[in-house]
Each structure stands twice: as C-alpha cells, then as structure tokens.
Symmetry: C2
Subunit: 485 residues, 2 copies
C-alpha cells in the first residue's frame, strides 16, 4: 500500500478542499476529474489553503505532499489508502464511480463519499465490496473546518470505520460518528431547517439576506461557534439546569411560530429576490475576496479558541501535540537550539500582510517558553510553584516577513546561573535574519511572586547548556542599548 | 429628563444583562424587581460584565454609572429616557406593567420589551400610550452580544423608534429593525427550527447533545459567527453566484429530509434524555464556570473580528471611534502624552489572569501608533506612502497586571529629528508603574521600504513635541542594555 496517499475523485470546491488538506498534512494526492478546468480549480483552492492552514498550526507541518492529476481513475486509486469521492449528487453516477474504482483500488482502502444527500446504504447499492464504502461528509472550507460526519451503514466494515477515524484525526479533522444513517446526516438537517425559514422571511418581506445574516452573526452565531446549542442553553437554564430550561422553553415548540409545515416554492420571483438582495449585501466583494476574508476570519477565530483551549481550538491544540511529538533537549547542545519552527499565521499580520510588531515578541515568548521547558521548567515543574518571568527584553527588527512564511527561532543561552537566565533569540526565514530578541529572565516563586532559586535539576541542565553555549561567539547586537550600534 | 438614565423592570439574567450594559456605558441604572433575590442576581451578571466588556473596547469606557434598586416602579421610571421591561413571558403581566409605568414615566421615554414571544401590537393592547412601546429583543449575554431586534408595530411612534435606534447604537448594540412584526421576530425562528430538529435527533437516538454541539461548533457555527447564512452560501455558489447556489441547493427543500412537519412531544422520557446527556457533556463545569468560559471565548472571537474589521468586530471598532471622539495633540505638550487608556482584555492574559508578555508590546505598539498619528503620521499620511517602522525596542517588566485593570501609557519623545523618532513609553495602573518601552523608529518610504525623510508637517510637529519634552528628566531605564542597571 502507498501509505499516506489519497485519491481525490471529483475535484470541485469540496474535492479541492480535501486535496489541500491531505497535501498540507504531507500526503501524496492524486486527482481524477474529467473536467478540463479541474486542475485550475484545485490550484485555486490550494492557494487559499496554503495561505491559511499552515499558520493555523503552532508547529511546523510536514513537508507538503506531491500533487498529480490523472487521466484514468485506475491510475489515481492504485494502491492508495484513502479514496475521497466528491462527484455531483447523482446516485447512479456515484454508484458507477464506485464500480470502476473498486476494480482497481486496494480492498483495505477507505472509500469516503462527500455526499450530503445520500445515505451510505444507498451508495453501497450494487457495489462489489459495500463494506469499504462510508460517508465522510466535510464542511467548506474543508482545509480549515475540522468537522467531518462519518456515517457507516450496517454493511460498512468496522475496520474501515476505525481506519477512517484514525486517518481523519491524523489530518486534523474531527470525525463525528453518526450513530444511525438518516437523510442529510446531522448538520445539514439544521442547515436545511434554517434555510427554509430564511426563504420564508425573504419571501414575506420580513427581512433581507443582509438582515438575516446580521441576525445570525451579531447574535447566536457567536454563541454557536464556541459552545453549540445545548451548552449555550445549559447556561440559559442557570443553576436550575437543563431540565428547567426545557420546561420553560419547551412549550413554545407547540406555538405556531414557524411556517415549516409547508415548503416555500422556489419561484423565479423568489430566486430573483434572494439573488438581488445578496448582490446588494456582498456584491462589492468578488468571490475570491470573500473567500480570503472568510479564511482570515476563521483562522482568527480558531486561533482565538486555541488560546482559550476550547471547542475547535482544543482540537487544534491536540493536533499540534500529535504533529510535534515529544519535546526534549537535543543530545548535542553545542549549537543554538531551534525553539520555534512555524508558519506566520494570518492573524499575526497587518492589512499589508507584514508580521505585526507585537507578534515578534509573541514568537520570542514562545521560544523562551520552549527553552524553559527544555531545561526542565515545563508545565509539571511550574505546577510545583516555580517559574521564570521575563524582566527585560531587547528586540531588533532587521527585516520584514509576510503571512505564510516559515520562520525559525534559534536560541543561545548567554548565561544561566543562580536566579538568572539570559537568552538570545534569532529569528530567521531560511537564512534571512528577521529579528533578534535578548531576554533576561528571573526565576520566581509563584507564591511570593519574588525571585527564588530554581530547583537543582533545572539549574543543572541550564548550566550544562550555558557552558556549551559559552564557546559560541557573542551574537551581534547582544548587550546593546536602543540606538547604540 | 434624566439623560442617560435607564429603568430596568424585571431583573433576571436578561434584565441584569441590560443593566450591566447601560451601567458600563456610563448610564444611571434603576432596577425594579419584587424578587428579593434580584439584587444578588443582577450583581452576579454585573460581575461577569465587568470582567469582560471594558476590555472588549480598545478605548477607555465612560465612568461606570450609578446603580440603584427601587421599591416602587414609579420611583424607578421617574424621568428616565429608557425603560426596559424583562418580566416573565405572560401577556397580562406585561400589559399590567406598562399600565403602571405609563402612569409615572415620561411620554418621550422608550419603553422596550425584551420579549421573544409577543409582537409589539400584542404588548400595546390596552396601553394608555401604545406609541411609546416597542420590542427590543436582546441576546444573552446582553453585555457582549451586539444584536437587538427592534420591532415596532404600526402604532409605534416613529420618533420612539428613532430614539431607540440612537440609544441602542450609543451603548454599542446593533438595532436590527424588523420590517414587519411576526411571531418570534427573526432570530428565534431559526433557533426554534434548530431546537426542534435537535430534539428529534436525540429522541430517535441519532445523536447526543454533545454530538449535536460538536456538529455545530466544529463546522457551520464557525462560518455563521462571521458571515451568517447567505454570505457563506454566496461563496459556495462560487463565480456562478447566488442564483446558481439556490438552483443547485433549492430542490433539496422538497426532499423529505426533516421531520418538521410534526412537533416532538415533550415527554418526561425525552426531557430526561436531554438533561442526562447535557450532564454528561457539561456537568464537569458549574454554570458560573461555563459563563466565564463563554465570555472568555466571546471576547476572544469578537476581538479577533475587530482585528479583521469584519462583522461584529466592525461594529465594535465603530463604537470605539464614537466613544473616543476626535484624536488630536493636546495644546500643552510640556508633559508626557497619554497615548493609551484602556482595560486589559480577557484575551491578553494567561490562565492565571496576568497580562501576557507579548501584550505589553502590543500596548506599546498601540501607543507608538497613537503618537505617530498625533504628530500627523496618521492613516491619511500613510496612504501617501510614508510611515515610521520600529527598528528597536527595549521593554522592562516592572510589575504584573491582571485582566480588567485600567492601564494607561504615557509617552515621552526622547528625540525626533531627521528620519528618527525615539520614544519612551511608561505603562501605569493608577500610579503603579508596570513597564517601560523604549522604541527607536525610522521613517521609511513604503514603496522602497528604505529610510526616508518625513514630510515637513510631520517633522515640524514632531520637533515641537521633542523640544518641549527635552525639558523633562531622562526617564529611569532609558538608554540601558539588557542586564545593565
């Protein structure tokens, strides 16, 4: 089997999103799509993904995988461990695709369908090996949103479901195992219900597309982004709890509030009304501009949730830990130590795409945290009541850097004895030096908030690195005051 | 009329949220609620608001208003310009409240109802002055979420609607004027539809409360928080546009996807199922902990959207500009200039509530931006192709500061001539000095990215401030290297 190789069958926005996520997580990706525009379309999605996904991570992602376009389904699927089908929503077409690809693919490869409209048992229909087929329904943009609905049928092989779970998790997604197959799975049932209600509101002239979007994004949309429906309502129930909330809110269910007993007819007039209102609302932006704004916003929100270690941000932190593996001091400490390796995220830059002033210190602060952890002042040590606090910082800005750039911080210990740790960080993009940060840290007791001696194990390790680094030249710029060359 | 005074009639979570928003925006607030627990409940909401709302703003808010609790409705509403009714959802009770308060309140005061269940014409019923009554339906937490549905009936006085719009905007809310009164206004129609669908999914064992929340917060919840429904779907339509999207997605409307033709019966069994699942999902947190997590997350998301100047973040930036007013150099420049005055926001702190290292530089960077603007290097000047870039920074951390603290940065110009601007920022909480930042800036051409002379007007103003500040003592710590006392 070609490990970490995926075939993308159908290369529209969704297929392209899958391709981008697999590629940026280091997978080989093979695309089959008879559309002559497929290569252009996939490359557009990939360009969006390259500017947003790598920096969403706080660690360096694997080297991007190889992308190839194939003339035949057989060469695309040969030997791969994942096949993602995202062809148009026509059952006969999908079934035909499975028939062809099952003649050529491995029997233990996952065949995942992006379908929102079909149940897995419908897809499996007349397949040669139905057990291999499962619904893996993602959400646009696939390269940023972690949710994927994983829907097996009774016929799906449990080993395929397990394999799908593991692979989806490894590429940073959250496989939500749907307990029983139903039409539209879970999330789209909500989207459908809201969409219909929205059409009624527009049809009846109660609200425009803009007003409906404002009603969502200035209100409950902000709640749902971090807690969803039930955890939000749990709070509304207060100390009296969820039961109280349901008893209070529940009776409203029987009020004649919504018009969902009926379905609004999609007349030309209604379609015109929606399209015209949407033009008024968003027509000043091209679709490309809207995509970039959406991705900037999503990265910002997701990175904010990472800082809170909550919801989708908690998933992303777990993914960073998986990608990075164990953190330990290198055996050879004779050279400066790499303490940060990451892409500059979209939310670290100004409107021109240059990294903001304060984010240099954020990267140097991360480098300091890492250096502390490497000498033994890690979370477990800090929990015992000791830590290093930064007393002083001197930053020199030497060159600019843009969103998406791969940056690296190398750290030299200038001295490390007693209560002091004196560090010198140098930030690079490749060999280009971007900035330096000189930092004096003092070990403190977290109880008294005063200077204190570090534990012996920390002091010993720090002294060992400091002794090794003493042989290095004093870096350019160390020991200088502002304005002094 | 008592300008900027509001009466809160009914002081639960919603009334308390209104009280907190008015108070923190500098209004006098008078509460009437016969519940003996009202004062405790309002103070709990207020404590949450005080830790989250002030720092959401990037400028200092007005001094907090005075809060009082009243034994009679008449003393609460006497002379105020806003009355917010948030009593339980019983029409006869609400009508009785209006009857009493209209005997005592000003005729030009806005009477806003927090109702989600009644139309304004129903509320107005037998009121003495129906024209004064309007629905102003907010979303929890009222002190953070900007949305308020403003629903007049045909009888509501247009002057009251206009007054309501202006006052709601002035306290940082977004009044969404609903074009025609309908049951449940706009947002709750969506919430109702989703809630019913969610109950079906739980009842049928398709998903748990946790799985439903994950389906929302890992997927479309993140999209809706920033773009809502239609702008998101506009992107999905791609270059072919909204019309294409509807034509593609529309037919699904007639599929038998949802069960909304019927209403799930709220049996004890179903209530138990939901309550038990919610306990499993969120039972490890108290309601207070969930509230704080929610507010931390919302502040983080909202401040992220501010940085992108998008959606709810764009509203908040506009509110900051309104609160701050015009920015100009003081007439007397003989003393250091206040360049930052703000509360430390929740997203600037670590898990212990202390301000993070990098955020000191963010505040100093904001101080530098303000100093630049004050000498004429503002957005308009920068658009002409010149700006100052920071070359070097020296920060001394002198003392800690917590989330919510009011901080102030005072800036001294150490020198300002030719291409250089040499600044010294001192950060204070009250008289307690927290940190200093010494910064060397170089004027650059944004085209060549190389050093260049500033325009004459900027150079002249900067020289004037530098000359005045030359008479000030050299601040402690200026001109020092790291580790040098």
């Amino acid at each position: 089997m070609v490990e970490r190789a995926a075939a993308i069958v159908g290369g529209g926005v969704i297929g392209g999103g899958w391709a981008a996520r697999f590629l940026l997580m280091g997978w080989e990706v093979r695309v089959f799509d008879p559309d002559p525009e497929a290569e252009r379309k996939i490359n557009e999605v990939l360009a969006n993904a390259r500017r947003s996904l790598p920096g969403l991570s706080d660690v360096a992602l694997p080297v991007e995988g190889r992308l190839s376009f194939h003339e035949t389904m057989s060469s695309a699927v040969d030997g791969v461990s994942w096949i993602q089908e995202s062809v148009p929503e026509r059952l006969e077409l999908k079934r035909k695709v499975y028939q062809t690809l099952q003649e050529h693919c491995r029997h233990d490869a996952v065949i995942g369908s992006s379908t929102s409209g079909f149940k897995p048992s419908e897809l499996q229909g007349c397949a040669a090996r139905p057990g291999q087929i499962v619904v893996t329904h993602p959400f646009n943009p696939v390269y940023l949103l972690p949710l994927v609905e994983l829907v097996p049928s009774a016929q799906t092989d449990p080993a395929i479901v397990q394999s799908a779970k593991e692979i989806l998790t490894s590429i940073g997604m959250h496989p939500l195992l749907v307990r029983a197959e139903i039409d539209a799975h879970i999330a789209d049932r909500f989207l459908e219900a809201v969409w219909r209600e929205a059409l009624w509101l527009i049809k009846d002239g109660i609200a425009t597309t803009q007003e409906i979007d404002d009603a969502i994004r200035y209100g409950f949309g902000l709640r749902w982004a971090q807690m969803g429906l039930f955890e939000t309502y749990r709070i509304a129930g207060g100390e009296a709890g969820m039961r109280h909330f349901i008893e209070q809110f529940g009776p409203c269910l029987e009020w004649p509030w919504t018009k969902l007993m009926d379905v609004p007819e999609l007349t030309d007039e209604l379609i015109d009304k929606v399209a015209d209102q949407s033009d008024t609302q968003s027509g000043q932006y091209t679709i490309r501009e809207l995509e970039r704004a959406r991705d900037d916003n999503l990265v910002t929100i997701l990175r904010g949730l990472k800082a809170q270690d909550w919801g989708a941000g908690k998933l992303l932190n777990a993914q960073d830990r998986r990608v990075e593996g164990a953190v330990r001091l290198p055996d050879d400490v004779s050279q400066p130590i790499v303490t940060v390796a990451r892409a500059v995220p979209l939310d670290w830059t100004d409107y021109n795409g240059h990294m903001n002033e304060a984010r240099y210190l954020q990267a140097f602060g991360d480098a300091t945290d890492r250096m502390m952890a490497l000498v033994g002042c890690d979370a477990a040590y800090i929990a015992t009541g000791g830590s290093y606090f930064t007393a002083e910082t001197h930053i020199r800005h030497l060159d600019e850097v843009h969103a998406g750039a791969q940056i690296r911080v190398e750290t030299q210990v200038l001295s490390g004895a007693g209560k002091k740790m004196h560090l010198f960080h140098r930030m690079f993009e490749g060999e280009r030096e971007l900035a330096t940060g000189e930092h004096m840290l003092i070990h403190v007791s977290l109880e008294t908030r005063r200077a204190s001696e570090p534990a012996a194990a920390v002091a010993t390790t720090l002294a060992r690195v400091a002794a090794a680094h003493a042989a290095l030249p004093v870096p350019d710029g160390a020991g200088k005051a502002v304005g002094v060359r």
